[in-house]
Amino acid sequence: MSEFRNLSHMLDTVTKAYKRKDALYFEGKRISYRELNEQANKAANALASMGISKGDRVAMMLPNIPEFVYCFFGVQKIGAVAVPFNSMYKGREITFILNDSQSKALITLSNFANLINEIREDVPSLEHVILTGQRTLVYVTPEATLNLQIVCGKSKFSSPEEAFRKIGEIFVDVLQSYGVDAWYKHRGGVRVKGKKIATILVSEIENLLTVNVVLFLAHLDTRDLFKVVWVTPEIKDKVLEPSTSVEEETGTRPDTGEFTDALMKVLKNRLDIEIEPGSMKRDELFGYEKVLSLAVK
C-alpha cells in the first residue's frame, strides 16, 4: 500500500531527504532531522541494552519535550510498542495501565520519581524506570511546610528500600505521638487514610544517599502557586494529590521547635545514632554560597 514499511522506515526515509532541515524547535533550540534520527537511534540502543525487544511494551509518561520524540521513534526502531499516557495521571490509573499493558520499562520525568516509587511494588512487570527532564517543583509556605534532609553514606542503610522504610516509619511514629493516624505507604509516601501528609524522596550520588522529606504541618494553600505556575483551570485539582496536615487532622498546628525535638528523638532511637547540633564547615559554606548565587538570579 505504501512507500513505508513501518514508522521506523518512515523516519529513516525522511531523514535521508531532509538531513539538515530543522525537525524540532524547542525552547529556542533547533534540532535537525539528522540529530533527531541519531537521538532516536541512541534511545533504541539504550532500550535494547536493557533487554527491551520487538513486541515489548514501553510506557511513556512525558510532556511534549524532545525526549518524547526520541523515545517514541527509538521504541519504533526496536519494533517495540509505545504506551504513551497522560502525565497528569495519578497512582491508581498509572498502576492499571502499566499492569494491563505489562510494560517492561517506563520513561518519565524525574519529578514523578516519587509517584512511581510508591506504586512500583504493585507493578511487577515493570523492570526499568528511566527518568528525564528537570521539572522538580516544590512549593513551601511558612505556615504549612517543614522540611527534613539527610545526607549520609550509603552504608548507613542496607538498601535504598530500607532508607525509605526507616524514614517513613520514623515519621509515622512522630505523627502518631501527635495523634495523627498516619501510615507508611511503600516507598516514599506517608499518608492519613488516602491523603498525603509527607513525601519522602531518596536520591543517590556516588557513595552518598540524600533523603528529602516535606511534611505538612498545616493546610497548604496553593492559590498563589497557581498564579505563578500556569496550569489549565480544568486540571488544577488533578495536578495536586489530595493532602492533609497535622493541623487538619488534630485541630492544632504543632510548634516547629517542639516537633523538631520529637523528630530528632525518634530519629536517634530508630537509627541508633547520636545527633548533636553543629554548623556548616568552610567547604560547605563556600558550596552553599555558590549554589545560592546560581539558583536565585
Binding site: 525522511v14 519494533g79 509505545a82 499493558s101 517543583l137 545526607v151 483551570p233
Partner: protein
C-alpha cells in the same frame, strides 16, 4: 553486637527559603565529596537538616516555567535548579536518561516490524470501568499520513505547533507522525498557556496549528487584547476534540488571517477521518465529508444503513481503524463489527455527503421514557448572552429520583441567574427537557482535548449510572 557510636550533625534553619531545599544538600554533598577525596583529612559527619520557612517559595527544575513578575507581586521567592549535567543526584532504583544516552551508539539497525504489528497502545477511558488500550498499528499511522496528504497536505517548509499532548491520538498522529512524515519543523510546547502558545506561533513563524476549541478561544481573547501583535503566519489551523463555536471560528480566521478546518476522529481511528474546512466547501456545524480511503455510514440499531438526513449511529471503516483493544476481546467485539467501527456518535449525512454529529449515544438522558439530548439543551443555554458554556447531566436527587441538572459557566464580567436561564429554556424547549436545577461553576471538568467530562459531573452528584443507555468509549 557492635554498638553504634556514630554521631550525626544537626543543622536547624528556622529562616529557610525555598532555595535552601536545594542549596543545603548540594553544599553538604560537595563538602563531603571534596572533603573525602581532596581538601581536608577531616571526615565530615552525616548530617540532618531541619528547615522551616520565612516566606512562600518555589523551588523549580530548569524545565519549569515560572511567571517571574507574578511571583514578585505575591512576594514569592523563586529558585531555579540549574540544568545539571551527568553525575547529579538521582532517585534510587532508576536510570538517568542522559547517562544512558551518553553511552549509547548513534547507529542502530532497526528491527523492521510488520505493517500490522502494533506500534502504540493508547488508553482511553470509557463511561464506566477501566481504561482500554487501543492498539494502533504501523499501518494505522501510515494510513493516517496518507489521509492527511489527501485532505490537508503538509510540506517540509511548514512549521507545525505541537501544543496538544503527544500522549493523545490527535497530537501524536496528526502532529508528530504526520509532521515527521512530511519533513515539517515541529515546534514543541511542553506546558500550555495561552501566552506561551501565542508567543511560540510568533517566534517560530508557525504555518500550521492543531489545537482544541478552548485553545482557540484563549488565543482569541489574548489577540483581542493585544491587537497589533497578532501573528499572521498560520496558513491552516485544525480544531478537533469538541465542536468549535461558529462565532469563535469566524472571528479567529479574520483576526489571524487564516483558515480553520474542523476535524473529526477517534483514538480508534488513529485520529481524523473527516475534515470540514472554511472556504467554499464549508458547512457550519458539519464534520465534513468522509476522507479518501475512509468509508463512513449512518446505521440504525439493527445495523442497517439509514437514508440521508436520518439520524443514526456513525460507523467507520478503513486503514486507520484499530484492530482492537489490547487483551480485551469482549470490548473489541462490541466496538468492531465486520471491519466497521461503531463510534457511539449519533448523527446524519446530508444529501451532499457531509456528516453532522448530533450527540453521543452514551450521553442521552432518559426521562419519563423520553430520550433527551443534552446538547439540545446546552445549545439553548448558549443562546443567552452571559453563558460561556454549559453541561447537562442526569443526576439523582435526594429522594432518589432522576432529574436533570445544568452546570453553567458564565462569560467573564457577565451575570445572570437561574430563573432567567430557566425562562429561556421554557420559551424554547418542551417541558420535559427543562433542567430542574441550574448550578453556576467557574469551570467545567474537561479532557485533555477540551471535551466536557460529563461523567465527572455525574460522579460528583452520586448519580445513577443506569441513566446511561449504552457504554461507549470517549475521546
Amino acid at each position: 553486637m557492635k554498638r553504634n557510636e556514630q554521631t550525626w550533625r544537626l543543622l536547624v534553619n528556622t529562616k529557610g527559603q525555598a532555595v535552601d531545599l536545594y542549596a543545603y544538600p548540594s553544599a553538604l554533598i560537595e563538602g563531603r565529596l571534596a572533603g573525602k577525596y581532596m581538601l581536608s583529612k577531616e571526615k565530615l559527619p552525616d548530617t540532618v537538616v531541619v528547615q522551616s520557612f520565612t516566606g512562600k517559595g518555589i523551588l523549580a527544575g530548569a524545565d519549569v516555567e515560572i511567571d517571574a513578575s507574578a511571583a514578585k507581586n505575591l512576594q514569592m521567592q523563586t529558585a531555579k535548579i540549574p540544568r545539571s549535567g551527568r553525575g547529579g543526584p538521582k532517585a534510587v532504583g532508576t536510570y538517568d536518561y542522559a547517562d544512558l544516552i551518553k553511552q549509547a551508539s548513534k547507529k542502530f539497525t532497526p528491527a523492521e516490524p510488520e505493517l500490522d504489528d502494533p506500534a502504540v497502545l493508547l488508553y482511553t477511558s470509557g463511561t464506566t470501568g477501566n481504561p482500554k488500550g487501543v492498539m494502533l498499528t504501523h499501518r494505522n499511522f501510515i494510513s493516517q499520513t496518507e489521509l492527511v496528504d489527501a485532505i490537508m497536505p503538509m510540506y517540509s517548509k511548514d512549521t507545525i505547533i505541537l501544543v496538544l499532548p503527544l500522549f493523545h491520538v490527535y497530537g501524536l498522529s496528526n502532529g508528530l507522525v504526520c509532521g515527521t512524515r512530511n519533513g515539517c519543523t515541529m515546534s514543541l510546547i511542553p506546558q500550555y498557556s495561552p501566552a506561551k502558545l501565542l508567543d511560540t506561533i510568533s517566534s517560530s513563524s508557525a504555518t500550521l496549528l492543531i489545537a482544541v476549541p478552548s485553545m482557540y478561544m484563549h488565543l482569541l481573547q489574548l489577540a483581542r487584547a493585544r491587537q497589533t501583535k497578532i501573528p499572521k503566519s498560520l496558513r491552516l489551523c485544525v480544531s478537533g476534540g469538541a465542536p468549535l463555536p461558529v462565532n469563535t471560528l469566524n472571528e479567529f480566521i479574520e483576526l489571524f488571517d487564516t483558515q480553520i478546518a474542523e476535524g473529526y476522529g477517534l483514538t480508534e481511528t488513529t485520529s481524523a477521518v473527516s475534515l470540514n474546512k472554511t472556504g467554499e466547501q464549508f458547512k457550519a456545524g458539519s464534520i465534513g465529508p468522509s476522507s479518501p480511503g475512509i468509508e463512513m455510514k449512518v446505521v440504525d440499531d439493527s445495523f442497517q444503513e439509514v437514508p440521508d438526513n436520518t439520524e443514526g449511529e456513525i460507523i467507520i471503516s478503513g486503514g486507520v481503524v484499530t484492530p482492537g483493544y489490547w487483551n480485551n476481546r469482549e470490548a473489541t467485539e462490541e466496538m468492531i463489527r465486520d471491519q466497521w467501527l461503531l463510534t457511539g456518535d449519533l448523527g446524519y449525512r446530508d444529501s451532499e455527503g457531509f456528516f453532522f454529529i448530533t450527540d453521543r449515544k452514551k450521553d442521552i438522558i432518559v426521562r419519563g421514557g423520553f430520550n433527551i439530548s443534552p446538547r439540545e439543551i446546552e445549545d439553548v443555554l448558549a443562546e443567552h448572552p452571559a453563558v460561556e458554556e454549559s453541561a447537562m447531566v442526569a443526576v439523582t436527587d435526594k429522594r432518589g429520583r432522576e432529574t436533570m441538572k445544568a452546570f453553567v459557566v458564565l462569560k467573564e464580567g457577565k451575570q445572570t441567574d437561574a430563573s432567567e436561564l430557566l425562562q429561556l429554556c421554557r420559551e424554547l424547549l418542551a417541558e420535559y427537557k427543562i433542567p430542574k436545577v441550574i448550578e453556576f461553576r467557574e469551570i467545567l471538568p474537561k479532557s485533555a482535548t477540551g471535551k466536557i467530562l460529563r461523567k465527572e459531573l455525574r460522579d460528583e452528584q452520586g448519580s445513577d449510572q443506569r441513566l446511561i443507555l449504552k457504554e461507549a468509549p470517549n475521546e
